[in-house]
Symmetry: C2
Subunit: 336 residues, 2 copies
Amino acid sequence: MTATIHTLGAGHEPSLNPLLALVAADMNGVNSVILERMQSKVALIPELAGHLIAGGGKRMRPMLTLACANLLGYPGTRHHKLAAAVEFIHTATLLHDDVVDGSGMRRGKRTANLIWGNPASVLVGDFLFSRAFELMVEDGSLKVLRILSHASAVIAEGEVELTAQRQIETDEDQYLNIIQAKTAALFAAACRVAPVVAENSEEAELALESYGKNLGIAFQLTDDVIDYASDTATMGKGVGDDFRDGKMTLPVILAYARGSRSDRDFWRSAISGERTSDADLARAISLVHETHALSETVERARHYGRRAIDALAIFPSSKAKAALVETVEFAIARAY
Amino acid sequence: MTATIHTLGAGHEPSLNPLLALVAADMNGVNSVILERMQSKVALIPELAGHLIAGGGKRMRPMLTLACANLLGYPGTRHHKLAAAVEFIHTATLLHDDVVDGSGMRRGKRTANLIWGNPASVLVGDFLFSRAFELMVEDGSLKVLRILSHASAVIAEGEVELTAQRQIETDEDQYLNIIQAKTAALFAAACRVAPVVAENSEEAELALESYGKNLGIAFQLTDDVIDYASDTATMGKGVGDDFRDGKMTLPVILAYARGSRSDRDFWRSAISGERTSDADLARAISLVHETHALSETVERARHYGRRAIDALAIFPSSKAKAALVETVEFAIARAY
């Protein structure tokens, strides 16, 4: 009954504001935990971690934990530490990702590994990961620990197995496996933690896990689209980072599959790292448009967005539910 | 009453055999867990992890967990998974260490990062770390989780803060802080886990933590001595790895402090990486001998060994206690 009320792209301008308003008070609590627990007598740790944590991230994952708890009427504050733990796991993953990918830019800023070097990024990542587990242990729920340690293992295993970087032969199925491990697993875990803390049903756990997973995929796909958007305004993320890092994201996978012989030659050399000029990026952007690879990627994102919204069907209408639905719509709308 | 019976260096040839015999049956269980849980559909994971796990390590830390449990008469098998988790944390740390240090050799073998590259070592380390937490969560003791997640955080924080690599000004106090975080924290945690599983007293926890911590320091100091030993026989570890990696270990710290002006010039250029030839190593070896830096480092190790043995004073005599004492004696005797 509700999935049809909020139809995607129904005309209004979806935003994150309902989500932000819903979780604002709780988010102060989470931010306190984050700031307190990223401290260390070792000055480099908060400095380096803060570069990423304070550096333009939306804190989507902790907001989702908070919003899902709100959806279930959970009145406590236990989830503040857990939401902070989720953000620490996410940050640790980003730090190690940038080392592994040799990335130089993230969200339009220089990456930590470029500023402080790979060794510092590896070690501060390890520190945040350990801190995340300390926070979970303090909370004391083995079920939460199971959910988040499993998500961490999925992320790590996925990263070893699956790289789309510099791999022109990556296809859509492989790419979906990659983003399920890389992005969707932690979104799903962040949401599933809420019903555990709220001592809600197994059904609620599965529903919110599904919501998070599908939202995560939708977010990642629209992120991929934004990287080929023609202006750099959106979300503070630089355009062309994925292109210059040689990442086979869905827009490229589709453009490559649909491309002419010369288009495909271009993509091969671009993904292998031989074409990184502004003119090359401009050509890539026009190719993903011409082949409708961008709009098709948005369609795929829309599909996962619908599934995310449908997963919420079992919950009665509420401000929290409306905010979670609009978050999906926002995720998709970013791509326009 | 017992610390005086087994005096260090009392004439007999101390060995690891009593420890190995004591834990042999349990160690089969631990090895099964290790082999099973380092598997993955991703072939690179067991391949890379196995290079280190099967590659000449003594599995000291899991053996200590088993021996301490035996000391307390624990009859179960819960600690098998935990001992495996400790070994995974250790292995993950080694993988990341070698990336951070840019090391090329460990235990006389090429390091994983040299064979498979830094990215793979970072990611497989993350995977093993996540698996370690999954194993602990399966066991279900929050107290164990607290001990091991705290040890992990100490290790990570210590690694960020403290590096003796290429730092000629490192002094003995700083170096002790480094090895307490790098080595002793996990030895201590591996031992402390046993009384928790055995549901023994807080007193036993503190005593075994102290045993592990001091043994860990003694082990590290004798490892440092072995790296300047004049032959490559001992423990399968290559001689000169630390020297070539520019590590300020205690033998170098003492030799540098005691050295003549030209000795000190030599150490400065060696630690900064300008002297890595066999002739340079030979000179380093003769300097640590001439200045008695090696024998003094063994004396320091002996001090921590005595403290480890004294920490066992509260436990009645048993085969397990004798094995734990002889393990300390063995740690020291390796340096001769």
